[in-house]
């Protein structure tokens, strides 16, 4: 436990000193703020650019949330995975972990500490982005009365943990950052496949990323998210378990 806590502190320090945390915070904050503004002003921008273009309907608050989920699940998580993809490869290439392990740090503590810090940073960035999106949407659409915005956000947050778990497993298996990121993308694609197969589509964790807007608009209900949420948590824990097992036998 000593080793785990010490390494968690070291990871926080590293993420602050190398600006990774600030970059991610800025990216997520911009995405959260931009979502509402883009949804509100895109029709006006387009009409200004093309005078003869008429928009079919006025933008509504739901458009802002559509934009938010599209941006966070696409750009936001991609930025997180790209920046965090080097969390182990840089330690492998420099050999910094050797001295830590020979000091008595357990390999399990290394993986758990890396995951904990990544998960905490992702959580901070994600909910700050959500708060920014919520605030801007409320300001731009005063009369909005949307329900389930928070449960929809919980779903995508859980998928964030799943991505991190896959990424850590990739980082353990491969020594290069790029291969770890490719691995994460590949496994995420494989996990999304059941979502296209009708009999088991309801179990796929990717419902949590694709149906958030339906939940806000009332087309689906929060109970539809329960099984995918459990599957997402179970796959995240399994991924972490596999990462620890593989790292126990990894040559440093």
């Amino acid at each position: 436990m000593n080793g785990y806590i010490a390494f968690v502190k070291k990871e926080f320090m590293e993420n602050i000193k190398n600006y990774r945390f600030f970059i991610l915070l800025a990216v997520f904050l911009i995405l959260g703020t931009m979502s509402a503004f883009l949804a509100k002003f895109t029709p006006e921008i387009l009409s200004a650019l093309a005078a003869d273009m008429e928009m079919a309907s006025e933008p509504v608050a739901l458009d802002a949330w559509k934009q938010f989920y599209k941006n966070i699940s696409g750009v936001g998580f991609s930025a997180f995975i790209i920046l965090y993809g080097s969390c182990l490869s840089s330690e492998y290439s420099k050999g910094t972990l050797v001295l830590m392990v020979t000091k008595g740090l357990s390999r399990k503590a290394v993986i758990l500490a890396k995951y904990t810090v990544a998960a905490v940073l992702m959580t901070i960035c994600y909910w700050i982005s959500y708060a920014a999106a919520y605030g801007c949407t409320a300001c731009l659409w005063n009369d909005t009365d949307l329900s389930n915005t928070a449960p929809a956000a919980y779903g995508l947050w859980l998928v964030g943990f799943l991505y991190l778990s896959i990424l850590i497993t990739g980082c353990v298996i491969f020594r290069q950052t790029f291969t770890s990121i490719l691995f994460t993308g590949g496994i995420a694609a494989v996990i999304s496949l059941p979502g296209m197969m009708e009999p088991i589509a309801g179990f796929s964790p990717f419902i949590l990323t694709s149906k958030n807007v339906d939940l806000i608009s009332g087309e689906t209900v929060p109970s539809d998210f329960i099984i995918p949420a459990f599957v997402s948590v179970a796959v995240s824990i399994s991924g972490l378990f596999v990462a620890i097992k593989l790292f126990q036998k990894k040559q440093l």
Partner: protein, 305 residues
């Protein structure tokens, strides 16, 4: 008591056998020189002792506890200094030592006290800048400080002086000599003068096993031959000298190079008596006569031949 015992250790990388049935032990309180050519398997052996590499066969015990690959239990007895120690560049030396202390379960007060003490021992007490700005020698000294933080029973140094300039080398050797009273040191190198300076026990690693092992004095006495170096003024003198019947028995072990001759024997006194007799009889006056004592270098070359 032995701090480290290695029995019948083997390790291959692909088809290449690096360590082949290696057995050796390091006695408590010694400074043990682990000598071998580049690629002889010194680092591989050390990594297996630290549980960083899996052995194919054999057993390693540190303070009588079995070393298992991937586990770090026996590492609580060991301080390790790799050949090129790497640290977190954004930390200061004291911050790094605090991290090491916390991982090893040393109390905060103790880490502060020992940290400052060790930084002073290795000459880094005033270095408040980040490790990223350190020279190689400074990193090596910080490596020793981190290795000694937990007061290990065994300090393993993997070629600590190989990449340093003469001043840096001397500093590291001085530090190792200073700590030798409290910690057993296993010190791998191919710089033989370093071994002669500080080690009391030596093992030569050749073809994956210990070719020679023992105290420095024992090894020199058992395996070393004294050598007598002769340089003649001309080739004619050398040929005349070789034709003398009385020196024929001395010529069983010799090396010839132009006008130079090296005679080997474990009884140098009788050789010298015979030689001076021959010189008096023939009137040959060699321009140089030198008695060469056995050195680790000559032993090493003999072992790896």
């Amino acid at each position: 008591m032995n701090v480290l015992t290695i029995q019948n250790l083997s390790k291959s990388f692909g088809k290449q056998k690096i360590i082949n049935d290696l057995s050796m032990s390091v006695a408590e309180g010694s400074i043990f020189g682990f000598i071998g050519q580049n690629g002889a398997g010194k680092t591989t052996t050390m990594k297996m002792v630290l549980g960083l590499l899996q052995s194919d066969h054999g057993e390693i015990r540190v303070c009588n506890e079995l070393v298992c690959f991937g586990e770090t239990k026996t590492n609580r007895y060991i301080g390790y200094l790799p050949d090129v120690p790497e640290f977190y560049n954004y930390m200061t030396p004291l911050q790094y030592l605090r991290l090491c202390g916390e991982i090893a379960g040393v109390s905060k007060g103790e880490v502060e006290r020992r940290g400052r003490e060790l930084l002073s021992l290795v000459g880094l007490e005033g270095a408040a800048k980040k490790i990223g700005g350190f020279s190689r020698g400074m990193k090596q000294r910080l490596g020793i400080a981190q290795a000694l933080l937990t007061q290990p029973k065994l300090l393993i140094c993997d070629e600590p002086t190989s990449a340093l300039d003469p001043v840096g080398r001397k500093e590291i050797l001085d530090i190792l000599r200073r700590i030798s009273g409290t910690t057993t040191v296993l010190f791998s190198t191919h710089i033989l003068s370093d071994v002669e300076h500080i080690c009391d026990h030596v093992a030569f690693l050749n073809e994956g096993k210990t070719a020679v092992c023992g105290t420095l004095a024992e090894i020199k006495a058992l395996h070393g031959h004294d050598r007598l170096f002769l340089e003649f003024a001309s080739d004619k003198d050398l040929q005349l000298f070789k034709k003398q019947k009385s020196i024929a028995p001395l010529m069983s072990l010799f090396q010839e190079n132009h006008r130079e001759l090296i005679l080997r024997s474990s009884n140098m006194e009788s050789i010298q008596k015979s030689l001076f007799g021959v010189f008096a009889e023939t009137g040959i006056c060699p321009i140089k006569i030198e008695l060469m004592e056995p050195s680790l270098e000559s032993l090493f070359l003999e072992v790896v031949k």
